[in-house]
Amino acid sequence: MGTIKALDGNAAIAYGVMRSKVQLVAAYPITPQTPIVETISSLIDTKQYDATYITVESEHSALSAVIGAASTGVRTFTASASHGLALMHEVTGVTSASRLPAVMAVVSRAIPGPMCLWCDHSDIMTQRDQGWIQLFAKSPQEALDFMMIAYRTSEDERVLIPTMVDIDGFFCSHLTEPVNVPSVEEAERFIQDFKPVNARLDTDHPYAIDNLTSPAIFTEIKRSQDLGMRAAAGVLDQRFAEFEKLFGRGYGRVMCDGTEDADTVVVCMGSMSGTVQHVVHQLRSDGKKVGIARVVAFRPFPQREIAEALKNARTVAVIDRVSGMGSFGPLYEEVLASMRISGSNANAYSFVAGLGGRDIWEQTVEDVFTKAESLSAENAVCDQPIWIDLKESEVRTHG
């Protein structure tokens, strides 16, 4: 089934857009997402792909055009990163509150400053409370597959919440791997033409959307949005199962390896998951009881699934690819809150790694395991994250 092509993460996203029968794309170039813009617009321009591409003059306009089109009843896509995603911030909230099932690829790149081209999750984490489903792919194959799954989930009438599919800048966006690309016919078995089900600008049914909303109803609109987001958990599970049946590639909102009997579990997201999993396999072959719980769906956050995955662990190490300035990383906080569900008393430690494109090597992951286990042996309590691979001598302070 499908055709094997050598694709990087950005190209895989472009195929995901085409196979999802997206009708309108509006996006603005920004490193490391630019090849998505180039690929899709070129395919449309050379009539290899029948869709409309709006060459907007900013990311803010990109998402604005997308929600304009989505409100008029077509399937839409945009992509961005870092500065661009920050510029979209105002509109991401409007998209989700309007219950428009748009899908966006985020090619994660550190948010300034300092100015940086390389990967971390500080861009997408600014969006965590904007009401979008957030899926973290670790490879080009997942990037393609998650695009199709994203549309089927966002557009489900129980959900009607937009989705961000996140890939790590350069680590995934520019990594070429063999990718199984479904044929048009195969893809159609999973995703069909768009049928809008919610708010539309329709001259036969004239009403206004996105108006000033008073305290009398604002809370209820947000709760309805929250329920849509929560419904997405079950719908995602259904879509993953359906996808696996058709294409043979299985996914989950949390993907675990070794957690059943592991004493120490690392929780992580995105491209580093591959390295962590590799280290887990190595350590297990040395007889160490370690595991990985990889969060695929950061929103809606899989509290119960994470609680289940960590219930037997004595030590939990959470790696955030964002600094959590002045507190802990966001993934750590979510994991800690989830562990309360199972009543777990495991020692949990927060690690900050891989900022601004710094590599997360096997050694980095081994250091995380070692550090977490030694702290846990003493039942140590940490009041701040452990910055791993930090060049202490380069950290400057006054006083």
Partner: protein, 288 residues
């Protein structure tokens, strides 16, 4: 046949509001097959709040910065759906057009989407209570320029002369027939159109509510507002200013100019003259 009502009568715009009048006149021309966007502004009062809306057509309150981009998306989506019978109407004030929305407008114009962008110019941020915008006339006092604005207004019409608008026009609420004619022309075009309408605001400019139309007419007569249109590379001046000295009368009738001295008056008149002279020269060309 009973006339369709497309804008409610019971709207909470100020007494004598010219923006509402422009909205009403626009719908008389465009009819029910129109989708409109308003940014947060006075025109958002037409779009409504809570579960109520004033429009009898589909409408959106967009974010202030990117109404034209939203309109681009709507316009292209309609094209995808084969809907050639629907007009996309952007309805923004001077803040959403001259200032925060300018980039988005320039992008939408350059890309050539079929849409009509109406700018009702009341020369300040009126919905937030009268703060100066780049459209505010030199010398006018606003809440952020209590002693009078120090700069001349941005000449957005001249700026847009160099963009690929299919049709561009200025209009005045003082001449509704002319506005309607221009809007009908814009709606018939298959590309981006811009209509810039002078809408004197009784609340912000501080004149009696029954004088809205008179002030708008006087603005045209005295040359403070120029009436022209651009089509097929050619500018047509619709009405010649009668006498620039009438600007004194125009200024005297608005309390927002009560503090200006003779020097500012002279500069306002000189600016109006120079804009008209430039326009006359531009009208002799056929290359815009």
């Amino acid at each position: 046949m009973a006339k369709l009502d497309l804008l409610s009568k019971g709207l909470t715009t100020c007494q004598g509001c010219p923006m509402e009048l422009i909205g009403r006149a626009a719908l008389e021309v465009l009819g029910p097959k129109t989708i409109t966007m308003t940014p947060p502004s006075c025109s958002a009062i037409l779009t409504g709040s809570g579960d109520e809306t004033g429009w009898g057509i589909p409408s959106v309150q967009t974010v202030l910065m990117s109404l034209p981009a939203f309109a681009s998306g709507v316009s292209e989506a309609l094209k995808i759906q084969g809907r050639n019978d629907v007009t996309v109407m952007g309805f923004a004030g001077d803040g959403g057009t001259f200032d925060i929305g300018l980039q988005s407008l320039s992008g939408a114009i350059e890309r050539g989407h079929k849409a009509v962008f109406i700018c009702y110019n009341n020369e300040a941020y009126m919905n937030t209570g009268n703060q100066r915008s780049s459209a505010t006339t030199l010398g006018a006092s606003t809440k952020t320029t209590p002693t009078g604005k120090k700069e001349v207004s941005k000449n957005i019409d001249f700026m847009l002369l160099h963009t690929p608008l299919t049709y561009q026009a200025t209009a005045s609420v003082g001449n509704i027939k002319d506005f309607k004619r221009k809007l009908a022309k814009a709606a018939s075009k298959d590309g981006p159109c811009f209509i810039h309408v002078l809408t004197p605001c009784p609340s912000g400019w501080k004149f009696p509510t029954d004088q809205t139309i008179q002030i708008a007419k006087l603005a045209v007569n005295c040359g403070a507002w120029l009436q022209f249109e651009r089509e097929d590379g050619k500018i047509t001046i619709n009405q010649k200013p009668a006498d620039f000295e009438l600007i004194h009368d125009y200024l005297n009738r608005q309390k927002r100019f009560s503090r200006i001295d003779d020097g500012i008056r002279a500069r306002i008149i000189a600016e109006a003259r120079s804009r008209y002279e430039t326009l006359q020269r531009l009208a002799e060309l056929a290359c815009l």
